[in-house]
C-alpha cells in the first residue's frame, strides 16, 4: 500500500521519534511510505483556541499537500496522533465552511475519509494486530481523550500492544481520565491542569511500568514533562516506537536515551 504520512507539526519539530518509528514500522510491514514535504500542521491548535480565521490558511496548506490522495497518488494518509486525526475528521471542513470556503471544506472532508490514525490504519485498513514487534518491558497505556472519544479507536492500540512479543502490559487505573493537557488549557488553567496531571502520574507510578505509551505526543509531552520533573524514572513513548521495536533493532527505554536529550555521558564528553 502507498501511504502518505502526516507527521504532525509537534512530532516533526519536537518528537521526530514518533513519525520515524511510524515510517520504520510501515516499511517493515512492506508498505511504501511517502512524506509530502510541504506539510506543516492540521490547524487544530488554531481551531481549539478559537482562531478559526487563522486556521484556514493552515488547513488549506494541509489539504493542498494531501490532495493527491484523492487522485490515487496514495492509498491512505496516516497520522501518528489521535487529536490531529480528530481535527482533520471533525473540524477542518466545519472551519472552512464557516469561512465561506465551501470547496476547500468539501476537499477536506473527502481527504478526512482517507485519513487514519496509526492504530486505525494497522487494524482496520491493513488488517494486522501482530506487527512482529519485540519489546521486553513493563508498559502501561494511556488512551488519550481524542483517540478514545473523538475518533473512537477503542481497544485497537491495546490489541496491537498485546501482540507485542515480550511485553508486560499493565492496566492503567483511571485510564480514561484526561491528563490535563488540553492544549492551551495547560497554560490558561495551569493549576487545574497540574492537579489533573498529578493524579495521572500517581496512576502511572502505581503500575510500576517503565514506559507509559499513548497514540499522541502532545499528551505524552504533558505526562512526560511531569514525570521528568519528578525524576520518576518512567519514560514516555509513542505507540509507534514500541511497535517499531524489534529483537534486532530494539527501541531503547532509558529515560536519558530519549531522542532529543543529550545523555549525561555525552555532555561529559
Amino acid at each position: 500500500m502507498r501511504i502518505a504520512l502526516a507527521a504532525t507539526c509537534i512530532a516533526d519539530a519536537m518528537f521526530p521519534q514518533a513519525p520515524r518509528a511510524t515510517v520504520q514500522l510501515l516499511e517493515r510491514l512492506g508498505h511504501e511510505v511517502y512524506f509530502p514535504e510541504q506539510q506543516t500542521c492540521c490547524g487544530q491548535m488554531h481551531v481549539n483556541t478559537g482562531y478559526f480565521d487563522e486556521a484556514v490558511p493552515v488547513i488549506r496548506n494541509h489539504v493542498e499537500t494531501f490532495a493527491p490522495a484523492l487522485d490515487g497518488e496514495w492509498d491512505a494518509i496516516v497520522v501518528p496522533s489521535g487529536s490531529c486525526t480528530g481535527s482533520i475528521r471533525h473540524q477542518q471542513a466545519m472551519v472552512c465552511r464557516r469561512a465561506g470556503q465551501e470547496k476547500l471544506g468539501a476537499t477536506a472532508e473527502a481527504l478526512a475519509a482517507k485519513t487514519y490514525e496509526l492504530s486505525e490504519l494497522l487494524v482496520d485498513v491493513l488488517g494486522v494486530t501482530d506487527v512482529g514487534a519485540h519489546f521486553p518491558h513493563r508498559v502501561t497505556y494511556h488512551p488519550t481523550c481524542h483517540s478514545l472519544r473523538m475518533i473512537r479507536v477503542g481497544d485497537k492500540p491495546l490489541q496491537l500492544l498485546r501482540a507485542v512479543d515480550g511485553i508486560d502490559l499493565v492496566e492503567l487505573p483511571g485510564a480514561e481520565s484526561c491528563c490535563g493537557f488540553g492544549g492551551t488549557f495547560a497554560l490558561k488553567n495551569s493549576e487545574t491542569s497540574t492537579a489533573m496531571l498529578s493524579d495521572k502520574m500517581s496512576n502511572v507510578k502505581s503500575t510500576g511500568a517503565e514506559v507509559v505509551t499513548a497514540g499522541d505526543y502532545s499528551c505524552l509531552m504533558h505526562i512526560g514533562g511531569g514525570l521528568s520533573k519528578l525524576r520518576s524514572g518512567v519514560r514516555t513513548m509513542h505507540l509507534a516506537e514500541i511497535l517499531a521495536s524489534t529483537q534486532s533493532a530494539p527501541t531503547p527505554v532509558d529515560v536519558e536515551a530519549a531522542p532529543g536529550r543529550d545523555s549525561e555521558a555525552e555532555a561529559a564528553r
Binding site: D12, V23, E54
Partner: protein, 552 residues
Amino acid sequence: MSTFLGFPTRRGAKTLPDDGAHPGAPGTSAGPGWADDVPHPEAPLRWGATFPEAAKQALGNTQLRRNLAHATSTIRAKRAAVVGEVPDWEELRDAGSTIKAHVMSDLPRLLEELERNVTARGGVVHWARDAAEANQIVTDLVKATGETEVVKVKSMVTQEIGLNEALAEEGIAAFETDLAELIVQLADDMPSHILVPAIHRNRSEIREIFLERMGDAPPDLTDAPRELAMAARAHLRRKFLSAKVAISGANFAVADTGTLAVVESEGNGRMCLTLPETLITVMGIEKLIPTYQDLEVFMALLPRSSTGERMNPYTSLWTGVTPGDGPQEFHLVLLDNGRSKALADDVGRAALHCIRCSACLNVCPVYERVGGHAYGSVYPGPIGAVLTPQLTGSTGRSDPNNSLPYASTLCGACYDVCPVKIDIPSLLVHLRAREVDQDRGRPTAWGAAMKAASFVMARPGRFELAEKAGGVTRVLGGSKGRITSLPFPGSKWTDARDLPVLPKQSFREWWADEHAATETDPRGERRSSEAPDGGGSPSADRTDTETTGDAR
C-alpha cells in the same frame, strides 16, 4: 456587608426575622465545624472572579477536593451501571437530541400551544423577559395571597434569578425543602452542583450546620446520613403541613397537553406540589417537549443520567388545576433571561437542549478537581461553561464569564454521557471563536501568537526555518536535555512540567537525510526505497542522531 473578591454582597438582606433559624440564618460567620467561603454574589450568573482565579482557590480546599472526588466517583459508577443495562440507550439519546432540536426550531409555536393548554385547564401564564420581571411577578403573586412564607422545591431557574433574595427583600421567607438546598440555605452558602447542590459538604460539616442553624435539630445529632435526613424531615414537616403557597421549577412542560412535570426523590416536591393552595411554577422557555408521548424518552434518559437510578422515587405530573385535588390556584411563569439570545446562535442554541441532569459535571475531570463554585455561576461544570456565557452575553473584555469556554481540556467525557447529545466540546470551541471574532482589532498576546503561528504554518519553508530556530531550546536546556524553568508565561508550564529541548534533527531533516539518495517521484516527494530490513539499521540511525555531537 461582606465582600466577595471586591463585589459587595447581599448577605445582610437575606436574613429575615423568623421564629426558626431557617431561612436566612442570623450571623455571617461560619460555625466551628464548616467552612463559609462562598458569600452570595450579586449576580447568580456572574459571581465576579474568573475561572482560573476561582479554580486556583478551590484547588487549595482539601475538604472540597476529598468530598468531590468521593461524590463524583460514586455517582459515575452508579450511572454507568444503570445506563449499561439499557439496550437502546443510544437510540433514546438520538430521540432526545432530535426532539430537543425540534423544540428549539419550533419554539414560538410550541410556547403558544403550551400557554393555550395551561390556560384552558385553569392555569394562569405569565411571561418574564428577565430575572427582575420574574421576581416581581412571583412577589406580587405571593403578596396577593397575603402570605409571608412560601415553601420551595429545588429549582435551578429560581437560583438563576435570585428569587429567594428578591422575596426576602419584600419580607417573604422562602423555605428550601430539598435536603441539599436546605443545607445550602442554612449555611448561607451557594449551590455547587445542579443535582446535589451541597456536594461540597461532607457529613460532619452538615451536622455542624444543622446544629448551629436549624433551630430544632436534636442536640445529640450524629453525622450518620440517616439521622441527618430524619432531622431535616422533622424540621420541614411542620412547614409542609401548614404552607399555603409553594414555588417550583419544572423539569418538563408538555406543549400538546399543558402538563408540567417535576422529577424528584425525597417527596418534598410532592409536598409542595400537592398540599398548598397556590402553586407558582417558574420555568425557562426552553424546557418544553412537544407531546405527552415524548415523556417516554425523557423519563428514560433523565433519572439514569442524573441520579444513576432506573427511575427516580417520585415524579409529579399536573395540568392546570384539578378540582378537589392539589393547589386550586396555579401560575406558570415563562422566563426568557437570555434564552432567546442563545436561541439566535445557530450553533450555541444546542446548549438549550440541556435537561439539567448533571451527568456532565460528574464525569468532568475539571469539575472533579475544582467543584462548582469555581464556575462563578449557578450553572457549573461543562454545561455551565457553555450555557452561562450565552445567557449573560459578554459585558466586554473584563467580563469574568469570558473565561468559562476555556475551563475545559476538550476531553469529550461530557459529550459521551449527555443524554441529549449536546456536543459540549464543539460548543466550547464555537464560543471561543465567537469571543476571538468579537475581540478582533484589539491586540492580545494570544492573538499575536496565533497569527504568527498561522503565518509560519501556512508555508512549509517558514515552518522549517522556525524548526531550525528552535535550536535555541537546546541552549535553554543545556546539558540536561530538558528545560526545567522558563520565565512567565512559560513558567505556567515549567512550574510542574519539564519541557524537552528540540531534537537536533527534526523529522523532516531525518527524512531528507534518509531518503535523499532515493528516487524523486514526479510530485517531488522523495520516497523510501529502503528494503524492509536492509540498508541502514533504524537503531543505528537512532544511535547516531542521539550520541553524535554534530550540530546541524
